[in-house]
Symmetry: C2
Subunit: 204 residues, 2 copies
DNA sequence: AGCTTGTCGTGACACCTGTCATGGTCACGT
DNA sequence: ACGTGACCATGACAGGTGTCACGACAAGCT
C-alpha cells in the first residue's frame, strides 16, 4: 500500500485527484492540503510514501515545499504535478529534490504509474518537457537580473523597482537592459513574458 | 440520470473530475473533450443534459464554446468551471448563456449539487465572485481600448501595436493613455495587469 | 437640430526608457 | 597575483512613452 499526500490549492482538483487515485488498489490517500506551508506538517503527521505537489500554491510554492519536505521527511519522495510545463520549473524541481515531474495534461492512467515508479525509487519526467529543458539550457539571467525582472512584473516604473529593491535607478536600468538583451526581447514587458514562459522567474 | 459533458484541456483534471462525478448515483459522464472547438460536435452526438466547461482551452475558449453550444444544443445547460475567479468572466459567461459559474477552488461536494441545480433550471453562481462582480461593475474600457490593451499584452512597442491594428501610432498612444487612466495604472504594463485581473480582456 | 460619446488623427512637450561608456568593489578559480 | 565575472553606480544620449490640446467624423439620444 503506497501512502499519498496531495497538495493542490484548487479544492475541486485536489478532491478529484484523490478520488481518482483512491480507485487504485495499491494507493491510499492519507493527507490532503491546500497550501504549500501545510505540506511539511501534514507529512510529519501522516508519514506518506509519496507527495504530489502542485507548483503554484498559496503560502509557499511547491518548489520550496519540496525542499523543506526533503529535509523534514527524507523517506517521502516528491512528485511534482503542475499545470504549466515551464522547462525551468523542471530544473528547479529536480534541484529541490523532487523525484518526478509531470504536467496535468498527461493521460490519467499514467499518473498512477508515475506514483508507483517514484515510490520504487525511479525518476519520472515528462518526456517532451525533458527535451525542451535540454535544448534550452539554464536560465541566462543572473540572480539580480531575475530579481529586477520579477519586480518589473507588476508593471511599475523604474523608480518603483529601484525603491523596492533598494537600488539606484541607473542600476535597475542596467539590469533590465541586460535582461532584455539576453531574452532577445525589445521591451521590459516582453522580457518578462519570455522569462515567465521559460520558467526563469519564480512562480507567482 | 443526468448526462454530463466535461471539457477541460488538462487531461488529469478532466479524468479526475469525471471519476469524481461518476461516483454519484444520479450522474453519468457521457463525453469528455480537451478542446473548445470539440464541444459542439461532442454535444450533438452524446446529447448531454449539462456541460461543464473550462474557460481556458485551446481552439476556442469556454465562453465562445458556451455561445455556440447554446445555439446548437439548446437543451443542454452550461456550467462554467474555471480556475481563475475573474469577475469579468462571470459576466461574459452569463451573457454567453451559461447557467452557472463556479471556481475550481470550491469544495468537491458542492460540484455535484451545482450540477443538479443547473439541471433543474436554477442558476448557480459562486457567492464571493457574485459580490465582487456587483461592487466592481462592468468594464470601463471601450471596445477599441480593450483591443489596444490586448495587443499590448505581448509587450511590443507602440509601433508594433499600431501595425497589427492598422492604426496610427498617435491613436494607439491615445487609446493606451485613456485605458491607463481608467484602470488607475501608471504604465501600460500595469494597465494590462489590472484589466486581465478583472477579466476585462479575453482569456489567452 | 443640438448634444454626447466613441473613434481616429495630428502635433507638441515633458518625462521615462533602453543603451552605452566608464569605473569601482567583491568573490571566485587559476 | 591575476583574470574573470557578477554587482553597483554615475552620467549622457537617442528614442520611446504618456499626456494634452485640438480637430473631424459617425452614431445614438433628447
Amino acid at each position: 500500500m503506497i501512502r499519498l499526500l496531495i497538495a493542490d490549492d484548487q479544492a475541486l482538483v485536489r478532491g478529484a485527484l484523490a478520488a481518482l487515485l483512491q480507485l487504485e488498489d495499491d494507493l491510499e490517500v492519507v493527507a490532503e492540503v491546500a497550501r504549500g506551508d501545510e505540506v511539511v506538517d501534514a507529512a510529519r503527521e501522516s508519514k506518506p510514501d509519496v507527495a504530489l505537489l502542485d507548483v503554484e500554491m498559496p503560502g509557499i510554492d511547491g518548489l520550496a515545499a519540496a525542499r523543506l519536505l526533503r529535509d523534514a521527511v527524507p523517506t517521502c519522495r516528491v512528485l511534482m504535478v503542475t499545470t504549466f510545463g515551464r522547462p525551468g520549473y523542471l530544473k528547479q524541481a529536480m534541484a529541490a529534490g523532487a523525484s518526478g515531474f509531470v504536467v496535468k495534461d498527461t493521460p490519467a492512467r499514467q499518473l498512477a504509474d508515475a506514483v508507483r515508479r517514484v515510490h520504487s525509487g525511479l525518476r519520472v519526467v515528462d518526456p517532451t518537457l525533458a527535451a525542451e529543458s535540454l535544448t534550452q539550457g539554464d536560465s541566462p539571467l543572473t540572480d539580480r537580473e531575475a530579481d529586477v525582472l520579477q519586480a518589473a512584473r507588476s508593471g511599475g516604473t523604474v523608480a518603483a523597482i529601484a525603491a523596492t529593491l533598494f537600488l539606484s535607478e541607473g542600476t535597475v536600468r542596467n539590469h533590465l537592459s541586460s535582461a532584455i538583451g539576453k531574452t532577445g526581447a525589445r521591451t521590459r514587458a516582453e522580457a518578462v513574458r519570455v522569462a515567465v514562459d521559460n520558467g526563469w522567474l519564480l512562480p507567482h
